[in-house]
């Protein structure tokens, strides 16, 4: 199995050119941040202001719409479903991690066996070689055995290379895990925003029932499943206190 390596010569060349320029000038190894040119900054500011205005007006419209709808149930449903989505993503991360570990453990055992086999085969080969030179070279059996042992060594080398491929293929867990983690963060942020939106839309007479500590935002930790549950309970409590 061969997979495409992204380590292209382009990237290599880029790294080498920057690295060599760096050592040539012997600058202190601090990443430089290129300053924003004034002409760009002006344009960006105007644009940012425009975006700010638009976000403000969208938020206002959403806020009013929520009031008219009587705090739409859909928001509470969305808030409720996000921790569930995170739990499911955690489940994927855990299962793929377990599978990758199992493969790595098995590869470890096979590699150990291979090492042992290679040592024994090598010992046997030298034993046959020295024996055949002195006593039983006439039988033809020893030469046959030597051929077998050579084949065995070749096959062993090939199998070890395959095992390396199998091992390397488990890096999918790292790569998919990073993607899952990013989605979990997005879900958590979205949940936090929705909860805040819900609180903003809460009538003043109900606000005192809401504990401010709930606004700390959900704990984003794919490993700590207890945190997710705790957070779920808090969101449930929050929604309950608001009458959803």
């Amino acid at each position: 199995m061969q997979f495409e390596s992204p380590n292209t010569e382009d990237l290599d060349a880029l790294f080498e050119s920057v690295a060599s320029a760096q050592t040539a000038t012997t600058k202190p190894p601090i990443a430089t941040v290129s300053p924003i040119r004034p002409s760009e900054a002006g344009g960006a500011n105007v644009e940012a202001f425009d975006v700010f205005q638009r976000i403000g007006s969208i938020t206002r419209k959403l806020h009013d719409a929520l009031h008219e709808l009587g705090y739409d149930k859909q928001i509470s449903n969305a808030v409720n479903s996000l921790p569930d989505a995170r739990t499911r993503l955690d489940y994927i991360a855990r299962l793929t991690g377990d599978a990758a570990d199992k493969v790595l453990n098995t590869v470890d055992l096979l590699q150990q066996d291979h090492e042992q086999m290679a040592i024994v085969a090598e010992r046997l080969k030298s034993a046959i070689t020295s024996a055949s030179s002195t006593t039983c070279s006439e039988s033809g059996l020893s030469s046959e055995m030597l051929v077998f042992l050579d084949q065995h060594a070749e096959m062993g080398a090939r199998q070890r290379a395959h095992l390396t491929e199998i091992m390397l293929a488990q890096d999918f867990h790292d790569l998919t895990g990073q993607v899952i983690r990013k989605i979990v963060v997005v879900a958590a942020t979205l949940e936090e925003q929705l909860v805040k939106l819900l609180l903003d839309a809460t009538p003043p007479d109900r606000r005192d029932r809401v504990e401010t500590t709930w606004l700390n935002g959900p704990v984003v930790d794919t490993k700590g499943r207890s945190d997710v549950v705790t957070n779920q309970a808090q969101v449930d409590d929050l929604l309950e206190s608001l009458g959803f």
Binding site: P6, N7, L11, I30, D101, L104, T164, D171, H173
Partner: protein, 134 residues
């Protein structure tokens, strides 16, 4: 530095799967002496406590990421001689430039092959030996 095969490696990655893979590959390539750390903070503590010759680090990690770790290593007079090879899923050009400017010895993008890792390691080890001979 001691003989290349005796080099002591520190593998830094928040995913245990990746640490195991890199450790296994290093062993296959001929570097059996390796330790692991799960993020930059743990790595820095280990580096200060032991005599490491080589760091292979991920970039995207909690607590202290690979760039911060690299900066800390290069800012510490007792550690700055240690070569740092970045192994990461981040293939953005600005990340590669940042790593090179911050003093990384090499940059490998995941997923990678054994041949890629071996080639980079050899290049860096040769560079160190040439620098020491001069």
């Amino acid at each position: 530095m001691s003989q290349p095969a005796d080099l002591k490696f520190l593998i830094v990655d928040d995913f245990s799967t990746m640490r195991r893979i890199v450790r296994n590959l290093l062993k296959e390539i001929g570097y059996a002496n390796a330790d692991e750390a799960e993020d930059g903070v743990a790595a820095l503590a280990k580096l200060k406590g032991g005599s490491f010759d080589f760091v292979v680090s991920d970039i995207n990690m909690p607590n202290m990421n690979g760039f911060e770790l690299l900066a800390q290593i290069k800012a510490d007079p007792t550690l700055k001689h240690i070569p740092v090879l970045m192994v990461t899923a981040e293939a953005k050009k600005e990340d590669i430039v940042t790593a090179a400017q911050a003093g990384a010895s090499g940059y490998i993008v995941k997923p990678f092959t054994k041949a890629t890792l071996e080639e980079k390691l050899q290049k860096i080890v040769q560079r160190i030996q040439t620098a020491q001979a001069a």
